[in-house]
Symmetry: C2
Subunit: 341 residues, 2 copies
DNA sequence: CTGAAAGCGCTAACAA
DNA sequence: TTGTTAGCGCTTTCAG
């Protein structure tokens, strides 16, 4: 029945107590080097592996954090999600943490968490799950969304500021007929980018034309439809701020199909600074998000929370949760120029 | 110290024993509906969540499987890896299993496994880890690689057969000057595709010219270098079988840059049937891999092993492990035609 | 520096 | 149908 070798076996083999074996495993300082060696040898000889569940149950350390990502169609295709994953992966590696990626396939109320802490990336319809996790006292951090009504640390991109900067750049070039193709407005980021666009326009004293704002949903087809509508308008926009590079690339192709030149006839700015933005025939001016940075900060914070909790055995709920917005950066390439007179 | 509500709290609250609560949680049939309701109410009232570690430790079911993928640069960009993940995700969903994605950041000897079983996807430098997992008696399945010297079920694509079929198609069109751009030959799949190419050539009685075989590594740049070499050869190949769609697409662009038309001047066949193969200016004839199917079979098999183990409490090592090769399918599109005379 | 013993939360016989 | 009880494997005071 008991098939695997456990800590008692190792203890017996090494002629010590289980407690000592445990100390060796957990790298406690108070073990005589000689004893340590004996134990390590025993572990090797017996091919012993600590039982993670038991370790956890007994209140030991868990060098594991989980990342929850929603399983929307195409998560893994998005430059975005993948970049975050990479960032998390890199930091975990540096911190010696094991990483569990938890793909939230269906909406669920609770997570069968077996990790020391969890990062919620891109919460879409995972609100309850998040709330639940926080209530259970599991160290939690949110990435890419700011949840105001929950006591949790959040790390997000300053989408509003990034959008504003992009549009202001267009304005500085002399554009006034600036259109915007939005992302999926169910998304916080799309809404924020739209807000940034409006702010920049208004701040410059330019008239805000509703027909210059075309709603899309981050997909290429939606961008195509949007730009076609835009082209029919008079006066025709001389610049378009597009809510994602993916869509911006589609915009560029459509424009090309219609015999329009980017940037001569119409300037285009994207958002994401995705790799394809560089490879495109017209290298795209776009907004770069500090995704890796965001992931890094999130993991580090989570790690801190976990360590803290371990030390005090209370969750420091009295500390006001951070709501961090990370700044974007405008990457100027070749898709913009002053409008023709 | 004991902050979370446990099974005893629930039992007391509902006026039953912990065992009964456990039965309710695990959906055992022998519980009076009335009792069940009381317990469920208690669980809800107290916001109780079973402790996964304790469940596992006590020998209960684990409705969780892990997928181990190597963290090579760009895993998440590969259509391939993502597709497998999707397949696994879908089946897990159907089976009601929770899915843990384990990204093997660094090579490690053992996995801190907290799952009922594990799927190794695309073992690259994870051999020891795999071996170790098997030795520990953890239900294991390998996907996309066939490991002959380990007693483990393997599900892989018939790369050799797929490549052979692709080249035979080219031959049937009348080509004899057929080149091949290989993938990363550290990879089993690339080697197998090369083998398939050679077999088809030889079987047709065509001379095998070493210079027609250019080694690349699945990256676009390597493909570019490879075609350029190929184009300098005399007689110039009239068809190229490329080991991946990604590379094939690059080949098409290079050819176009050189003023050559695909398929008129040179026919091109890819491998993967990735989405970009369709979207490309010249829709690519390619080899479709049953990735979802592969994932499905693997998960189902793993599930079977887990259930079996649970029932008998012995690992059925006497059953010869399956080594399954799944058949590919040639998808004919517009990148090939008979050679010009 | 090391050992003995008391749990961590849950499940699974075995009784009742 | 339900309760009692003995672990699962490990960590961690507390003694020594």
């Amino acid at each position: 029945m008991r098939s695997t070798v456990n800590i008692f076996d190792v203890a017996k083999y090494a002629g010590v107590s289980p407690a000592t074996v445990s100390r060796v495993i957990n790298k406690h300082p108070n073990v005589r080097p000689q004893t340590r060696q004996k134990v390590e040898q025993a572990i090797r000889d017996l091919k012993y592996h600590p039982n993670v569940s038991a370790q956890r149950l007994a209140g030991g350390v868990t060098r594991t954090i989980a990342v929850v990502i929603p399983h929307y169609e195409g998560v893994f295709y998005s430059y975005y999600a993948v970049e975050i994953l990479r960032g998390v992966g890199i930091v975990c590696d540096a911190l010696g943490l094991d990483l569990i990626l938890y793909v939230a396939t269906r909406e669920r109320e609770a997570l069968p968490i077996a990790a020391g802490g969890v990062i919620f990336a891109d919460i879409i319809s995972q609100y309850n799950c998040l709330k639940n996790t926080i209530e259970r006292g599991i160290p939690t951090v949110v990435i890419n969304n700011v949840v105001d009504d929950l006591p949790v640390d959040c790390f997000a991109i300053d989408n509003r500021g990034g959008a504003k900067e992009a549009v202001e750049y267009l304005i500085s070039l002399g554009h006034t007929k600036i259109a915007h193709i939005t992302g999926d407005l169910n998304t916080q980021s799309a809404v924020d980018r739209l807000t940034g666009y409006k702010e920049a326009i208004l701040k410059a004293g330019i008239e805000l034309r509703p027909e210059y704002i075309q709603e899309a949903d981050f997909s290429r087809v939606s961008a195509r439809v949007a730009v076609e509508k835009l082209l029919k308008l008079r006066p025709r926009p001389t610049a378009i701020f597009v809510a994602s590079d993916e869509m911006a690339l589609e915009v560029v192709s459509v424009l090309k199909e219609k015999g329009l030149n980017v940037p001569r006839d119409i300037s285009v700015v994207g958002f994401d600074n995705s790799p394809s933005a560089v490879q495109s025939p017209v290298p795209l001016t776009t907004v770069k998000q500090p995704l890796l940075e965001m992931a890094r900060e999130a993991v580090e914070e989570l790690h801190r929370i976990i360590e803290n909790k371990k030390g005090r055995h209370i969750y420091m709920s009295h500390v006001a949760p951070h709501k961090v917005y990370l700044h974007t950066e405008l990457v100027v390439r070749n898709s913009c120029q002053p409008p023709l007179v």
